[in-house]
């Protein structure tokens, strides 16, 4: 898929663990893993908003379009 999810990169930049992010988002680590590995079919705006708030970043830092 040409849309790449860069949550891992942002987590590393913020020195935060996946489990902590999942807990703060209120989703299961399994669902966060689905998002990180690009298996997700979509991201809800409120999830995206929470991720941006927690990681103090912009949606563009999380999602990236890469032409295949």
């Amino acid at each position: 898929m040409p849309i790449v999810v860069n949550v891992d990169v942002m987590l590393a930049k913020r020195k935060m663990q996946s489990k902590e992010l999942a807990d703060r988002l209120g989703i299961t680590p399994a669902n966060l893993s689905i998002l990180k590995t690009g298996k997700a079919k979509g991201v809800r705006f409120d999830t995206l908003e929470s991720i941006c708030k927690i990681l103090n970043c912009q949606p563009g830092d999380i999602l990236e379009y890469i032409e295949v």
């Binding site: 989703i27 669902n31 966060l32 689905i34 998002l35 298996k39 997700a40 079919k41 979509g42 991201v43 809800r44 999830t47």
Partner: protein
């Protein structure tokens, strides 16, 4: 408000399906036990099997002399038909109870539910009409076979539509699970 209404509606559906599940399971057990009881009576000829004038027969409730089932003809064909029909209705109620069970879990759309619905529509659309068609030709009983075939076909068509809805629902549910 709408969510609460939907939740209470689903709760009602779940309660009804639980009641219907147990009712149909009990009926299935009743029919299957009756079929087994007839087989035992015919095989071992206990005192509960009474031969009546005109080659008719009666099967009494266990350990009593009170009539439970009446047979028009004590022949292999007639008894086979009797056991077959009672056993088939036992299977029908067992499969129907499985369909009701599909509405019990929190997630209604499951592969298991689809399998139960498939079984149910297959026996209603093919097995029952075929059996009743054969019985309608050969049986000495005067049952309304056309009405019974029609009723089973209608049930089968509804179950077929329900199975299609479940399949669509499962696909949508799986997609929804991948939206984080």
């Amino acid at each position: 408000m709408v969510n609460n209404l939907f939740a209470s509606y689903m709760k009602l559906v779940r309660h009804i399906s639980i009641i219907a599940f147990y009712l149909t399971r009990v009926m299935a057990a009743g029919y299957i036990l009756t079929a087994l009881y007839i087989i035992l009576c015919v095989l071992f000829q206990p005192s509960t099997l009474q031969h009546l004038p005109g080659n008719r027969f009666a099967i009494c409730y266990p350990f009593t002399s009170e009539h439970f089932l009446l047979g028009a003809e004590y022949t292999v064909g007639y008894i086979t038909e009797m056991i077959l029909v009672i056993f088939l209705y036992g299977a029908f109620f067992a499969l129907l109870s499985n369909v009701f069970q599909s509405f019990r879990p929190q997630k209604i759309f499951t592969m298991r539910g689809i399998r139960h619905l498939r079984f149910f529509y297959l026996i209603n659309l093919f097995l029952f009409p075929l059996v009743f068609l054969i019985l309608g030709i050969y049986s000495i009983e005067d049952y309304p076979y056309v009405a019974m075939i029609t009723a089973h076909c209608i049930m089968g068509i509804f179950a077929l539509f329900l199975a299609a809805i479940f399949e669509q629902g499962l696909n949508l549910q799986n997609d929804q699970d991948l939206i984080i």
